[in-house]
Amino acid sequence: MAEEIELKRSAVDEELRRLPESFAENPQVKLLSLFDEFNTCIKETTTGNESRPEFFEGLHKEFARLSTDITNTCPKFDILSTNTRINRSKKNTLSKGSDWDSRSSDFVASRESLEDNDSEYETELDGEAIAKPNKSSRLFILRLTKE
């Protein structure tokens, strides 16, 4: 019987300890200290303090998405393979008799027309266009080498 009473008493004491601090004595100072504690907690959260990592843990996914989205804005160059180019230019010649694909404004031209048009991008190696100097720049280089 005495043991039971003792157990119940300790349980009540524990519950009493868990109760929030009473503001009956000097409520103004206690409320201000509570706000101060709250501000410190917000500061720790926003500065990524080790004691409160929840906020930055939640932002981790967002940072990853931001990084991916920014990386995806880099220019992507459509460089067609030789076969695609020849096929497309053949189609164009058959359908319109023109070397340039006017519908998509893609860089599509037959090898002959590129030479005729004095193009800077004449040939291709492993899917990459190789820049070649145009007629005027070739003349300029020739003049330089002769001098």
Binding site: E37, F38, I42, T45, I70, D106
Partner: protein, 83 residues
């Protein structure tokens, strides 16, 4: 982005420069082409971070001032945060 487009930009902006050299105006044009897309992305990310922070502060409000619900302090704080 096609090579034709790149060539058009070069022809338009590289006037008066030596052949083969890429003037800074062309580089700037292509850099700005990418960077102009960043504003929307950054704003979206900022809004997501703001939402997350507000949710977190709301939780902290409940944790710190939950006992003041009947006195009206907690609803006032929540109102300030949602405003």
């Amino acid at each position: 982005m096609t090579l034709q487009f790149v060539r058009e930009i070069l022809n338009r902006k590289a006037m008066g420069y030596l052949p083969g050299s890429v003037p800074p105006t062309v580089l700037e044009h292509f850099i700005l082409l990418s960077v102009s897309k960043w504003q929307t992305i950054c704003l979206r990310s900022f809004q997501a971070a703001e939402r997350l922070l507000k949710d977190h502060v709301m939780e902290l409000c409940g944790e710190f001032f939950g006992r003041f619900e009947s006195s009206g302090l907690l609803p006032e704080l929540k109102y300030l945060l949602t405003d």
